[in-house]
């Protein structure tokens, strides 16, 4: 492994005594346990790890911290994995993505060479608009050329399992650096139940590579001893009104904490210069991690350029690792401090006020151009350019939680201004760059959080006061220079957004074209929209826009922080593949009988059993049975039950005799239909109310809502799921029932239309209601769900043929019965739907909607629901448009061809002028026109003789 440093230099995380092997792009690569894919590849001399999204430019390790898009690879078939944080495993297969035919020779790089004029900012708004076919032709090509990895389109199921885990705690700490650890320790030691989520493989953050490893290890030990639940490799994805989603491998934790401490640190920023995305250009933090954690030499001859101490400290670390440092360019006029002194003492050229303006090379940096304060250029040979553009606090989670940000002009960064209740911040995200200050701020945040929860005592409060005053006196660290503006006149792309290949020039073009607001520029150029979520480019976009528009960075601001803060597979968010569904107790029988099961609201129901026409015929000529268990079923009981129902229904229920049933429509306060169903009176104080399937839950709540106001002596019980219900219908229904219910007088006189009876059917105690929705003699049997199968099997054995929802819809359409919510909408009044027979305005009692219904009664309806007979063999689809004078005038709500009637029939909303019987209407559905005539909606057995027989 040629890129490894000697045994005694760095490599704290790896076990050099053992070797693992994996493949990259088909070639075997050796690694040590503890390596990441990225560190092993770099050690093996593989400096190009991926190709950029749009221009296919070679990209190598930049941050080595999982923050940028440069090292995305496919690992064992999972695309978009960051090589620099992915631990190596024996035998893993790593494949570069977005390169063709190979990573080394990517023919698609041609896009970089010639594509500029063809890939302008605002591409999707400008190019391939005309002719329209151009987009269709270009799209597959664009998809092939641009992309961030591929999923296997043949995979029908996810290959890995992801579980959700809900975790409640007192304090959640996000970030396991020195500040986060200190916060967690302090809160836990005060008695709080603490969860700490850290995206690194071990706690410690930047301190692990920057000389404070022992300190953070001790804190981590204290955290464990205090009972902190440490989640490693766990990225916080977003803050959702107090819920923080944390992704940890195969688990998505949904953490609900009483208090949250955000210690997400800061993200080191790149610099803007020509060729700033070449492999070999690395952030100072990346270089230190490679050396100290993995014992990898980032390069052999380095130039370092930065705006503050991190660059100088990296130069010191490089020298300590035996790597030649050709020069250090510091944007500050006269850098001071330990690192500067050390470099000067070692004779390293420390070029004050110098900036980097260009990196050049083929597939890796070969030459670096520096600019002196007077503009003179110097060119240096180097295979490594270490850069540091300062720190940008990682404020995304805080911003999502409602924190406002302000611009710190001195340090050129956005920092939290005020934190929302329950949210605390600590460490670099607050601007405490020095580890000691970061630790202190963590302890303060942890103590504050615990104290707010009522934990702690006088001693802990005294300690907090000491910490707060020590923090005030802590050194803010040596100042850094503001990042230099992008150089002018240098050849080569100066990339602002590495994820989306957006350059300084692109942003300038966007501003020139009027997209000068940061949110507009984002959408126009796609800058900040890639996998790094703006970590690497928010500040640079802000700076370029500020310069181009002449506004202050504070006025330009940042784009809205949105989740996810970390790239995450969609499968993780989707959770397990289960969808809530209601099923009746008879569901298994429907499946066994070959039913086509479809969604009907939140129920899974049998649409038909393979032959809807035969099912309809069975109901007309013999006996059919349908599962109507989804109907809402409510018991309304008590001395005031009748009065209660009189108040909610527009017709009278108090006059109903025990054992009798009445249809009822429910209207809201605006007099619009909200539901319908039947009311059966079981005894003086007990009513059995049915509602539509979709309305069951809402009507139960609606009734309770009114009862809470009226406080009548009434009890309402939702027995929808306690009871199953079947409708036995057809001219033979009486015979079938008579056989199975010998104790029940099923004669026309003994059990008449709209009668309710109790009796055992096939041994099952049932409430039998003689009602019908399908136009034939029928009985609705309501039984305890535990016995539904027994009843169903007996009915089928006795000759009742199962029919599904679709045949039922045809049968009810033949009768002109509207379905609430299908044939009506939120504006429909009873009069408009021809249901005013169920409104009794001559009632003495007040009822819900009375005021509105009285006023509506004095007005002519502007449109009505009517029956239509459709000419021809075919019928329009539900929702087809009724046209008058070539303008839309209404719509078809239901239309079917009725085999029994031998014609197409439907229900339609038409304007008043077209609602008269005999009116001719025109219906358009897509390109087809239908002629139809308005008729009485009761198409079949209009006098109801078959129903009442």
């Amino acid at each position: 492994m040629k890129g490894r440093l000697p045994y005694n230099v760095g490599g704290a995380r790896i076990d050099r005594s053992r070797v693992l092997r994996f493949t990259f792009d088909g070639k075997v690569v050796e690694a040590h346990p503890g390596d990441t894919v990225g560190s092993a590849l770099h050690a093996a001399g593989q400096t190009t790890l991926s190709r950029s999204f749009k221009y296919h430019r070679p990209r190598g390790l930049l941050c080595c911290a999982g923050q940028c898009p440069n090292c995305l690879v496919d690992v064992d078939g999972s695309p978009g994995v960051r090589a620099c944080t992915e631990p190596v495993r024996e035998g893993m297969t790593v494949t570069p993505q977005n390169a063709w035919p190979s990573l080394g020779f990517d023919a698609l790089r041609a896009v970089d060479r010639v594509g500029g004029p063809f890939t302008p900012p605002g591409f999707y708004y400008k190019m391939l608009i005309r002719p329209r076919a151009a987009w269709r032709l270009a799209e597959p090509m664009i998809r092939r050329v641009a992309g961030l990895g591929r999923l296997d389109p043949g995979a029908t199921e996810r290959r890995w399992r992801t579980d959700y885990r809900r975790r409640h705690c007192d304090v959640l700490v996000v970030g396991g650096g020195i500040a986060g650890l200190a916060a967690a320790v302090r809160a836990a030691e005060l008695g709080a139940d603490v969860v700490l989520a850290d995206d690194g493989p071990e706690p410690g953050g930047r301190c692990l590579a920057e000389g404070d490893g022992a300190r953070v290890a001790a804190l981590a030990e204290r955290a464990s001893a205090a009972g902190v639940e440490l989640l490693q490799g766990a990225s916080a994805l977003g803050f959702f009104d107090g819920l923080v989603a944390v992704w940890q491998g195969s688990v998505l934790h949904q953490v609900r904490a009483a208090r949250t401490v955000v210690a997400t640190g800061a993200v080191e920023q790149p610099l803007l210069f020509a060729g700033n995305d070449l492999p070999g250009v690395m952030l100072s933090g990346a270089v230190r991690r490679l050396i100290s954690l993995y014992g990898v030499a980032p390069g052999t001859r380095a130039v370092v350029a930065g705006v503050g101490d991190p660059a100088l400290e990296a130069a010191v670390a490089l020298r300590a690792a035996g790597i030649h440092v050709a020069a250090v360019a510091d944007a500050r006029p006269s850098p001071t401090g330990e690192a500067a002194d050390a470099l000067r003492a070692a004779g390293v050229p420390l070029l004050e006020g110098h900036t980097v303006v260009r990196a050049a090379g083929g597939s890796r940096v070969a030459k670096v151009t520096l600019a002196a304060p007077d503009g003179t250029r110097s060119r240096l040979r180097a295979d490594l350019l270490v850069i540091s553009g300062g720190m940008a606090p990682a404020t995304s989670l805080l911003a999502q939680a409602g924190t406002s940000l302000e611009h710190d002009g001195e340090r050129g960064r956005f920092v939290p201004a005020d934190l929302p209740p329950g949210v605390f911040a600590a460490g670099q995200v607050l601007g405490h760059d020095a580890p000691a200050a970061a630790e202190l701020s963590g302890a303060v945040a942890g103590a504050d959080a615990a104290h707010e929860l009522g934990l702690g005592d006088d001693a802990s409060r005294a300690l907090l006061a000491e910490d707060v005053s020590a923090l005030r006196g802590a050194s803010p660290g040596t100042p850094s220079a503001p990042p230099p503006a992008p150089p002018k006149g240098e050849r080569g792309r100066c990339v602002v957004c590495l994820c989306e290949d957006v350059t300084v020039k692109d942003l300038k073009t966007a501003v020139a074209e009027g997209f000068d607001d940061i949110e507009l520029a984002k959408r126009y150029t796609t800058a900040t929209m890639g996998p790094c979520q703006g970590r690497m480019c928010q500040r640079a976009v802000n700076a370029v826009l500020a310069e181009e528009t002449g506004r202050a960075p504070a006025a330009v601001g940042l784009t809205t922080a949105r989740p996810p803060w970390t790239t995450v597979p969609l499968g993780v968010l989707a959770g397990r593949p289960y969808q809530p569904a209601k099923r009746s107790a008879l569901h298994a029988r429907h499946r066994e009988a070959g039913a086509r099961i479809e969604w009907a609201g939140d129920w899974r129901r049998a649409y038909d059993y393979g032959d809807p026409d035969a099912e309809i015929a069975a109901v007309h000529d013999g006996c059919g049975v349908i599962d109507v268990s989804s109907l809402g079923k409510l018991l309304v009981r008590g001395p005031d039950a009748a009065a209660f129902l009189d108040r909610v229904y527009p017709n009278r229920m108090s006059t109903l005799a025990p054992g009798r049933i009445r249809y009822g429509v429910l209207t809201g306060e605006a007099g619009r239909i909200i539901d319908d169903g039947t009311v059966a009176r079981l005894d003086d104080e007990t009513f059995y109310v049915t509602t539509t399937s979709s309305g069951a839950g809402a009507i139960f709540e609606w009734l309770q809502w009114w009862q809470a106001d009226w406080r009548l002596d009434v009890r309402i019980t939702d027995v929808t799921q306690s009871l199953s219900a079947v409708n036995v219908a057809g001219p033979r229904a009486r015979d079938v029932l008579a056989v199975l219910a010998p104790g029940l007088d099923c004669s026309a006189d003994g059990f008449g239309y709209l009668d309710a009876r109790r009796g055992a059917v096939a041994g099952v105690e049932a409430l039998a209601l003689r009602i019908g929705f399908v136009g034939e003699l029928g009985y609705e049997l309501h039984v305890a769900s535990a016995h539904a199968l027994t009843l169903w099997d007996a009915l089928v054995a006795a000759g009742a043929r199962p029919f599904g929802l679709e045949p039922q819809r045809v049968l009810r359409l033949q009768k002109g019965h509207p379905i609430i919510g299908v044939d009506t909408d939120a504006e429909t009044t009873p009069a408009m739907a021809g249901m005013d027979f169920a409104v009794k305005l001559d009632k003495d009692e007040p009822f819900v909607g009375r005021w509105a219904l009285e006023r509506l009664a004095s007005r002519e309806c502007t449109e009505r629901l009517v029956g239509v007979v459709i000419e021809g063999e075919h019928v329009p689809g539900d929702g087809a448009v009724v046209v008058a004078g070539d303008a839309p005038a209404g719509r078809i709500t239901s239309a079917r061809r009725s085999a029994r009637l031998g014609r197409g029939i439907g229900l339609a909303w038409v304007p008043n002028g077209l609602s008269e019987l005999g009116s001719r209407i025109e219906i358009r559905d897509g390109g087809t026109t239908f002629a139809a005539e308005v008729v009485d909606a009761a198409f079949y057995d209009p006098d109801g003789e078959r129903l009442r027989t």
């Binding site: 579980d163 959700y164 885990r165 809900r166 975790r167 409640h168 139940d193 609900r256 397990r576 289960y578 969808q579 809530p580 569904a581 209601k582 099923r583 009746s584 107790a585 569901h587 129920w603 268990s629 989804s630 018991l635 008590g638 005031d640 025990p658 054992g659 059966a680 079981l682 005894d683 007990t686 809470a708 406080r711 009548l712 002596d713 009434v714 009890r715 019980t717 939702d718 027995v719 929808t720 799921q721 306690s722 009871l723 199953s724 309710a756 009876r757 109790r758 055992a760 041994g763 099952v764 105690e765 049932a766 409430l767 309501h782 039984v783 305890a784 769900s785 535990a786 016995h787 027994t790």
Partner: protein
């Protein structure tokens, strides 16, 4: 006059099959849906009578969020006017308290063992950290309305609408899989 016997599975023949017993092992998921459930209710002005009925049966007044065990039945106050009794039915209450059998209305799944809470946390955001024997938590389990009763430290009873029984069972079996919880 039509009585409410049609609501009670025990009133029909053949009677429903008996509940499945405990499953041995580290943890178990058991269908206890056929355990008798009764809803007691009063009007809004008679809540004191309902509270008195609960106290007579259990020796303790009803408290929100707490279920009380008495004679093998769990008395679960849902609202001041409503109590769900899970277990052998109480003697017919005296007016103004009335009772309705809702056995078939609720699926009831027992989840027990040291990992019971971890399994539930995969499908529910209910906070069980301070739940002890008798804790009663209405809320959402696997995105459907449910009530969780903590029967013992490591034994939960999950009640949900019976129409969701199949969905909820499948979801719980799946959630229990990583914890090696057996089911029956």
């Amino acid at each position: 006059m039509i009585d409410l016997g049609f609501l009670d599975p025990a009133a029909s023949t053949p009677p429903p099959r008996s509940p499945v017993g405990d499953v041995p092992g580290a943890g178990a998921l058991v269908d206890r849906s056929l355990v008798v459930k009764t809803e007691l209710q009063t009007g809004p002005d008679d809540t004191a009578e309902l509270a008195a009925a609960v106290e007579r049966a259990t020796g303790a007044p009803p408290r929100t969020g707490r279920a009380i065990e008495a004679d093998g039945a769990w008395w679960c106050p849902l609202t001041p006017t409503r109590v769900l009794v899970v277990g052998d039915p109480p003697a017919t209450p005296a007016p103004p308290v009335s009772a309705v059998t809702v056995t078939s209305g609720f699926a009831a799944f027992g989840l027990s063992g040291p990992t019971a809470r971890a399994v539930l946390a995969r499908v529910s955001a209910l906070d069980l950290r301070r739940a002890d024997t008798g804790t009663l938590l209405p809320g959402s389990v696997a995105r459907v309305p449910a009530i969780v009763l903590c029967r013992r430290e490591d034994e939960l009873l999950i009640l949900a609408g019976s129409a969701h029984a199949q969905y909820l069972w499948e979801t719980l079996v799946d959630a229990a899989e990583p914890s090696q919880v057996t089911h029956a």
